[in-house]
């Protein structure tokens, strides 16, 4: 296995060099970035290893119905974002001269408290979420190289930390674009070898359709399941495709856009890359049941087992690089936005030179330390942070893009606080998978299966409507109010 050590060391050195030589003057702003880089960086930030390995394993259990998630990611999570959200976001950000999503919202609604509030929850949640991403990557590396998980963890944390310190946002975007390419190659190799093994896509689908239904795939492997299993797939689609709209690290990706033309060019590139990576990975993982048989109970080992069976040793290393790329691209985006949120939004610093280095080193160290710990609280935060952030940001963010800041500062702040409170309350008291372990109670029947993103966003919207200024929802106010001018 040591023969592949140079491949991994070369990969790490390349990442650091890309970050170092593509940095811009401002650590929080992207400067000039090509449209291909923007599109690949968007996809690489979007897709973490959980989306590939974790959801790939779920495809083995649920079958082709997981393609609903891939389609949602492509159309709602990418096409819709570039069509309706990305350019208005960029216009507002430029008009307000803001550097972080929290600063952009708080300046728009003229409520400084919102910046501190969103900065604080972004920092805490994303550092902890980043720790899980690091941990997954370290386990992957220790599986293909003769090093312990902790050694791999220290190495990966150092590589990402150095890339973020040296590269700033522009460096992070370039490393992500490179990692996006590695992901396309790795998943493409797996998909092609699997299709060859099962005799092509049509033969594979026929064989999968012939398999008897299971408890999870109760309508067969080519249909949406009935009951809670099918509901779970629909909620996963909503969380990963709509929840993405309001993730700070994704909003920040729009800051690099230069014109509407660029937006129109970036969208198909990102959609194609996402279709190949997510669509390919899920399609291959669903068909993997034909090769692996019905005996696997732990979904996390499905893709590694499949790769071990299908690909030659070099191909296995390539796929491992793709998975680690998925992790590290997400980790670098998370650490960058967490550092920016802490320094800029919470401490109101300008973040150049040592102030930038110190916040990044602090956030990276915290993420690394959390990754060493095994705690049910950390695991819970990792599983819920995406939804909590979406519920805290989505309503004021969309309101700004749709109708401008007419609703006023109170509405923006209270909808953000209401979204956080609503989603936390649902996780703690009503949502069966989490609430039974924490409070011992849950909502009855199918209500207990409703994912917290729905009640969280509903609570946020109710708070927004209650505190909105008079006339906010009248017809003239609903006209699009994004700044009209093009970029110079």
């Amino acid at each position: 296995m040591f023969t592949f050590a140079p491949l991994w060391i070369g990969y790490a050195v390349l990442l650091v060099l890309i970050a170092k030589y593509s940095r811009s003057r401002d650590a929080l702003l992207p400067g000039k970035v090509g449209v291909v880089v923007q599109a690949l960086a968007y996809v690489a930030t979007y897709i973490s290893a959980v989306a590939l390995v974790g959801f790939g394993g779920l495809c083995y259990i649920f079958g082709m119905q997981m393609l609903l998630i891939a389609a949602g990611n492509v159309w709602l999570g990418t096409w819709f974002v570039y069509r309706y959200l990305a350019w208005p976001t960029r216009l507002w950000q430029r008009k307000l001269n803001s550097k972080t999503p929290a600063e952009f919202l708080s300046k728009a609604f003229e409520t400084p408290k919102l910046q501190v509030f969103l900065g604080l929850i972004s920092t805490v949640l994303l550092i902890i979420y980043g720790s899980a991403v690091f941990k997954g990557a370290a386990v992957m590396v220790s599986g293909v190289l003769p090093v312990s998980t902790n050694t791999a963890l220290a190495f990966l944390v150092a590589v990402v930390g150095i890339s973020v310190v040296w590269g700033g946002l522009r460096g992070v975007l370039y490393t992500e674009a490179f990692q996006g390419l590695v992901m396309i190659v790795g998943v493409g190799a797996l998909l092609l070898s699997l299709l060859r093994e099962v005799g092509g896509p049509i033969t594979g689908l026929h064989a999968l359709a012939a398999l008897p239904p299971t408890e999870a795939a109760n309508n067969g492997f080519l249909a949406l399941s009935s009951g809670p299993a099918g509901l779970n797939i629909i909620f996963l689609t909503i969380v990963t495709s709509v929840g993405i709209w309001a993730q700070p690290q994704m909003i920040q990706r729009h800051f690099a856009l230069k014109s509407t033309q660029e937006t129109r060019k970036a969208a198909p590139l990102a959609m194609l890359a996402l279709s190949v990576v997510v669509g390919g990975a899920y399609f291959a993982s669903a068909l993997s049941r034909l090769i692996l048989g019905p005996g696997i109970t732990n979904p996390d080992i499905v893709l590694p087992t499949l790769v071990h069976k299908l690909l030659p040793v070099f191909g296995q290393q390539l796929f491992a690089l793709a998975i680690v790329s998925a992790s590290l691209s997400t980790a670098s985006a998370l650490l960058h936005i967490a550092s920016g949120s802490l320094g800029r939004d919470v401490f109101k610093k300008h973040l150049t030179g040592w102030s930038w280095r110190i916040v990044v080193i602090f956030c990276t160290a915290c993420s690394g330390i959390f990754a060493l710990k095994t705690s049910s609280l950390i695991a819970l935060i990792c599983a819920t942070s995406w939804t909590i952030l979406a519920c805290s940001i989505l309503v004021p963010y969309l309101a700004l893009l749709i109708q401008g800041p007419r609703a006023g500062s109170k509405a923006a702040l209270m909808s953000s606080v209401g979204g956080l409170a609503g989603t936390l309350a649902w996780y703690l008291l009503a949502y069966k998978p989490t609430s039974m372990g924490i409070s011992g109670i849950s909502a009855p029947g199918i209500i207990g299966a409703i994912h917290p993103i729905l009640p969280g966003v509903a609570a946020s919207f109710i708070a927004f409507a209650l505190f909105a200024k008079k006339g906010t929802f009248s017809m003239p106010a609903l006209s699009a109010s994004a700044p009209e001018e093009e970029m110079p």
């Binding site: 082709m64 119905q65 393609l67 609903l68 891939a70 389609a71 492509v74 159309w75 096409w79 309508n219 080519l222 249909a223 949406l224 399941s225 009935s226 099918g230 129109r264 060019k265 969208a267 198909p268 590139l269 959609m271 194609l272 279709s275 190949v276 669509g279 399609f283």
Partner: protein
């Protein structure tokens, strides 16, 4: 009838469509 199979068929078809549409758009914008 919009049965459970249709969800998967539409999802798969929309993924293929997105890939095809993206390739066409990329070629058009490169001209």
């Amino acid at each position: 009838m919009f049965n459970t199979d249709m969800w998967v068929i539409i999802s798969g078809a929309s993924l293929l469509w997105s890939a095809a549409w993206s390739i066409i758009m990329i070629i058009r914008s490169a001209k």
